[in-house]
Symmetry: C2
DNA sequence: TTGTACGCGTTATCAA
DNA sequence: TTGATAACGCGTACAA
């Protein structure tokens, strides 16, 4: 590949003039600029990204920290990654994937300290996420996709779980449901302080309690079988439940299968509302699932934009954005009828 | 951050000795090595990735080229990306996402010529993919995930569609099916020479013809609605069909919904076999879908491994690997019964 | 076994 | 408006 040196020679100017013509940091006369441009075209010149990074101390690389394996990245995560990568591209940045899962953060710290990335996008955030302290210590700008327990001093974009749960339950109660159960993520994720599990659980409890309704929660793993088992247990212990709020696609489908096999009609005997999901997933079920769709694309775009703003020192205001899931009413929610297990 | 210079000073040795201690390219006495190690520990030293790249002319960055938007990356793609990123990490490489979709390849070429990536992983490969020529021209090592029409001189890992289709149809014919229809990707993807669409179509036609069975193919977009419409059309035009081979998750679920609404029982009236899918997706349906799962994880691992081998000049043999999808028999395939629309 | 010095391709400072 | 030239931090011939 041609270097700036080659361009300078061919154009008959100094190396620094070529650089300035490119960066625009200092004025260059129209004539020499034209000569330089001609030389660059002739040589098919492209600036070397690595050399630029070394000299400018800015790599234009953003790292995405995602502890992948845990629950097997969901479809929403894919939307998010795609959106983040595209936004980065548009702004002249690159997104690298760091599927690191170290508890002590040794590997993460090493990666950060290599200086490859200008900033980090932190995924799968827990309430007491140790990566926050790590990133502060290393001095890497970062934006959380999710948030810790007390994130006021941090930059974050997250799902507004409180509003999402309220909207979900408003939808169900407006249909007359009063016995509503939450089918949540695994208990392990709750114990780990995984944001969505904790916040949805808390919001659910608050909402139901405020209205004098009983709080029924079942935790289950990300699998159809786990969903079936949890639903079977629910049918036994809480036969009056008429609506299920779920937040776990695989389990949701398992739950519906179990209901159907028990002769329950959806939504006549049981309404099912899947939050933190997507219409695309909802369209897979029959009858079509009423969902509340996670704003993956928006979060990706916002997170990257905020991170770049931090890195470049522009956009002074911190990112503190919460976006609720959007309700897409389809065919699995309907008026409350008879309680579960009730046979007239 | 501390530099090698700092380490050398603290350890009382020359800069190059530190470098050699780190790379191991030339022997360093045990004593000095220990002093250097102590200095590094004390300073929390990490080598600067960018400076290393500039000096060694190797970035340890792999670029993943994915024209994302087209059909909206599938669940399999996510598996693939995760696996590729993890494999790269294990080998000390980084995976950057380049969601570039330019027909003329201008942006792709510019990116490549910046010298950021040591090599490229090419996704969504078409039979006459122009990126192959581009990559050759630029001189960037690459591995295809997929393959062109005549890929013998290239490195690739792809799904073995021929075997997959044969296994799928063997499964169906063994159950007695003779009237089998293929529900494929969109016609646009076929016209664009998208590998999976073309190869599955060709294999299907060959297999069926060889056995004297009629070839029925329907193309439809990646949506449940498209699947329903295609299935409705099929019911009208080919009522004798008793088995559906699909390769498009959303459409598959749409097709099943349409069948159920028409009062068809699955698999009693119609078997459904979804190829290039996954058991995870299959578990979402009720009854559970018989699938043939795409080897996303394996392809990701193989692709990255091959690419690194090319870059590092090791592993002389070219990667020419085809992996068939694995059959997971569940509840949507069963013995052939009466033809569709037949009412005794 | 160790040290010196040059090169990697830019950016940015200092002069002119 | 332009030109030298010193960083940037490390890898590696060449010398000792």
């Amino acid at each position: 590949m041609a270097t700036m040196h080659d361009v300078a020679n061919l154009a008959g100017v100094s190396l620094s003039t070529v650089s300035y013509a490119l960066t625009g940091v200092r004025p260059v006369s129209e004539k020499t600029r034209a000569r330089i441009q001609a030389a660059m075209d002739q040589l098919g010149y492209q600036r070397n990204a690595i050399a630029r990074s070394l000299a400018s101390r800015r790599t234009h690389i953003l790292a995405m920290l995602f502890p992948a394996i845990e629950r097997g990245l969901s479809g929403t995560a894919l939307e998010f990654v795609t959106s983040a990568a595209e936004t980065a591209r548009e702004r002249g940045y690159h997104l690298v994937l760091w599927p690191v899962n170290d508890q002590e953060g040794h590997e993460t710290r090493e990666l950060l300290q290599q200086g490859l990335a200008d900033g980090a996008l932190v995924m799968e955030v827990r309430l007491d996420d140790p990566r926050v302290a790590l990133l502060h210590e290393v001095g890497t700008p970062f934006t959380l996709i999710g948030r810790t327990e007390d994130p006021d001093t941090l930059h974050y974009a997250d799902i507004d779980f409180e509003t999402t749960v309220r909207d979900a339950l408003d939808h169900l109660t407006a249909l007359g449901h009063r016995d509503i159960a939450l089918l949540s993520h695994s208990r392990a994720s709750l114990d780990a302080g995984y944001g969505p599990t904790v916040r949805v659980g808390a919001a659910f409890e608050r909402y139901m309690t405020e209205r004098g309704l009983s709080v029924v929660v079942r935790h289950c793993d990300e699998s159809a079988d786990a969903g079936r088992i949890a639903t079977a247990g629910l049918a036994a212990s809480h036969p009056r439940v008429t609506a299920l709020m779920t937040m776990n696609d695989a389990a949701t489908f398992g739950a519906m299968a179990e209901l159907l096999e028990r002769g329950k009609r959806i939504p006549d005997d049981m309404s099912v509302l899947s939050i933190v999901s997507s219409p695309r997933v909802g369209a897979l079920s029959h009858p079509r699932l009423t969902t509340m769709s996670a704003p993956g694309t928006e979060l990706g775009r916002l997170g990257v934009t905020s991170l770049i703003a931090q890195i470049e020192g522009t956009g002074a205001t911190a990112l503190h954005t919460l976006i609720p899931c959007r309700l897409d009413v389809q065919s699995t929610t309907g008026p409350a009828r008879l309680p579960m297990n009730h046979t007239p």
